[in-house]
């Protein structure tokens, strides 16, 4: 019900008690402001950490061989383990459906890359098409290595944006150009880029794995075996799946290469998910920390609003007595005090909200610190905290008002 007389009465009171109103408003507004900024930076950290992990697919698994360190089944330690195509084929049939993508890499040694009589110092990597997803690379132009290239031993190459810039900067596009790798001409068919800050992984030229093995005396050798697992419904389930897969894969590979089960130097495995897990835990911790601080900020806001309301009502006890003597009904007095409390907390709460969200909105996109990216806050969360403060403020106003109304008029008006 809109009662214009009540509103006029409240505006009168507010206008004539500016300091009191200002202090109440300030404590509410600053509480909301601090909370929103905190939550915003919590979110910013989450964004930033997620960005750092864009370099490789989080669910990827990387396998490469080392040397045995333990004597096993009559085989000497110090033996070099060599992965071969048949391992990949067996894995494909053994683990079919367990993984989303699989790729094999071969790093030919002693290759010489030449373009226009200039020697280029980049790595040459033989691979198949699935690497793109596992490495989380994007295509800037042309296409990636595909199945057909592998089957036909095609002499095609995919270069990185960095190489394009450094070597082919004078051309509109490097696609269609030929580079010579140890004397054989390879046609450039695509340009890729890496997410994330580092360009270290953009030092590579990709060619089909079959061509690499064939042309650079690799026969059926594999340097590196990579997989990408599907993401499960929860992070824990994904980690679990990853661990299972890794264990089974290791068992097979160790068996196939005569490696002792307890030998952990013969075959190396890298799971980005375990790094990610640590970061997600850290991030969860940081978020919790921000929430705890935010919670106590709100508690402090509630306490200070309650405090101010207590003092306000105390200060107005005499006025309440006067109003009662003049015929004010109890509820009209309680209503007036709560109306004022709700009005002041709402206005200042939303002012703090708008100010802090505006600040995040304007400054957020310009924040360029490691691990913090585009701090922002969930609008619903922010509005709920304002509503919480309003409820707290009005409750804090209600009880003292209720008590004040119960005081005998004569007592309220007694001279101090």
């Amino acid at each position: 019900m809109f009662d214009i007389e009540r509103w006029q009465e409240i505006f009168d009171t507010i206008r004539k008690n500016k300091l009191r109103t200002f202090l109440t408003g300030l404590s509410v507004a600053s509480g909301i402001f601090i909370l929103v900024i905190l939550l915003g930076f919590g979110q910013g950290m989450q964004n930033g950490i997620s960005e750092e992990f864009k370099g490789d697919a989080v669910t990827s698994i990387w396998v490469w061989p080392g040397r045995t360190t333990i004597e096993y089944k009559g085989l000497n330690p110090g033996r070099r383990v060599q992965l071969r195509n048949e391992n990949y084929q067996t894995v494909q049939s053994m683990f079919d459906g367990d993984y989303e993508k699989a790729s094999i890499l071969y790093f030919p040694s002693n290759v010489k890359v030449v373009y226009n009589n200039d020697l280029l110092v980049y790595d040459v990597v033989g691979t198949n098409g699935d690497l793109q997803r596992i490495e989380n690379e994007f295509l800037s132009a042309g296409r990636y290595i595909n199945e057909m290239d592998v089957q036909e031993n095609a002499k095609v190459a995919v270069i990185s944006n960095k190489i394009k810039r450094e070597v082919f900067g004078h051309l509109d596009t490097p696609i269609g150009e030929y580079i010579s790798i140890s004397g054989a001409g390879f046609k450039i068919v695509g340009v890729f880029g890496e997410y994330g800050e580092e360009e270290g992984e953009e030092e590579r030229i990709f060619i089909p794995i079959s061509t690499a093995q064939l042309a650079f005396s690799g026969s059926d050798k594999i340097s590196n075996l990579n997989f990408m697992l599907p993401e499960m419904e929860s992070f824990e389930a994904t980690v679990q799946k990853n661990n299972d897969f890794t264990a089974r894969l290791l068992t097979y590979l160790k068996q196939a290469h005569g490696v002792a089960p307890e030998d952990d130097r013969a075959i190396y495995i890298w799971n980005p998910i375990h790094d990610a897990e640590r970061f997600y835990q850290l991030m969860g911790g940081i978020k919790l920390f921000f929430w705890v601080i935010g919670f106590f900020t709100i508690v402090a806001g509630v306490v200070s609003v309650s405090n101010i309301m207590l003092i306000v009502v105390k200060e107005r006890t005499r006025e309440i007595g006067i109003r009662k003597a003049l015929g004010a009904k109890p509820w009209s007095i309680i209503g007036m005090i709560m109306h004022e409390a709700i009005f002041v907390t709402a206005i200042s709460g939303f002012a703090g909200l708008i100010f802090s969200m505006g600040l995040l909105e304007i400054v957020g996109p310009y924040v360029e610190v490691d691990y913090i990216l585009n701090p922002s806050v969930n609008f619903n969360v922010a509005v709920s905290t304002v509503l919480l403060l309003m409820v707290a403020g009005s409750l804090a106003g209600f009880f003292p008002a209720w008590k004040a109304v119960k005081v005998q008029v004569i007592e309220a008006l007694r001279d101090e």
Binding site: I322, R323, A325, L326, A328, V409
Partner: protein
């Protein structure tokens, strides 16, 4: 209350006619404040009847008491009890707010009463800018504004010097001359004698109830 209960009033029986100006006198502890609280519906008697303008006043809840106070009673206090952040005019208009009278009309009516107490020019001043006598006159105007049946004045001159006291009593006499019923609680003899009837209270009973010849306050002003 339990075992600490104390009978302050022990049988008070009197009737005030319309248009009377009654002084209630007594030393402290005589029960005059309690009597005034009961008359002002701020407290209720353990037993006995209180009839105001033919309406029995008993078993009141807070809301009903508030309504009756607003309609029947006007209060004048020793310490004025004006709301300090409201101007004289707004103070006088406040009882009308609780009668749900629209703002414009409130102000017109409040101004009329302020004019009656001679403070029209001070209408927009805050209480802190007024002298004690002026404050009490604002309070009297406020008590009058709701057009009550009875004005209850609790030591209305208690905080004022004698010249100002007589000015205030002069005003109260003039209001009484217009036909308003007024009860004045006081412990000052000269103030009591400016009323038409004096009820002496002692230890919770009426010691003496006498009609007196009214001394006009105007002769001292």
């Amino acid at each position: 209350m339990g075992s600490n209960s104390l009978h302050v009033l022990k049988g008070i029986n009197f009737t005030a006619e319309a248009g009377e100006l009654v002084a209630i006198m007594g030393s402290s502890g005589s029960g005059k404040s309690t009597l005034l609280n009961i008359l002002g519906m701020l407290d209720e008697a353990d037993s006995g009847d209180y009839t105001l303008d033919g309406v029995p006043i008993k078993n009141l809840n807070e809301t009903k008491a508030a309504k009756y106070r607003n309609k029947f009673l006007g209060f004048i206090f020793q310490s004025f009890n004006l709301i300090n952040y409201k101007s004289a005019l707004e103070n006088v208009a406040l009882p009308l707010y609780y009668q749900k009278i629209p703002r414009k009309e409130r102000q017109v009516r409040a101004m009329k009463y302020l004019e009656q107490v001679g403070l029209k020019e001070w209408a927009h001043h805050l209480p802190s800018e007024l002298s004690g006598g002026q404050k009490q006159r604002v309070a009297i105007a406020r008590a009058m504004a709701a057009e009550p049946k009875v004005l209850l004045a609790d030591e209305p001159t208690g905080a004022l010097d004698s010249t100002t006291s007589y000015e205030v009593m002069d005003l109260i006499q003039k209001i009484n001359d217009q036909g308003n019923t007024i009860l004045v609680v006081t412990h000052e003899d000269d103030i009591a004698h400016m009323c038409k009837r004096i009820i002496h209270l002692k230890d919770g009973v009426i010691e003496k109830d006498e009609k007196v010849t009214q001394v006009r306050a105007s002769q001292y002003v």
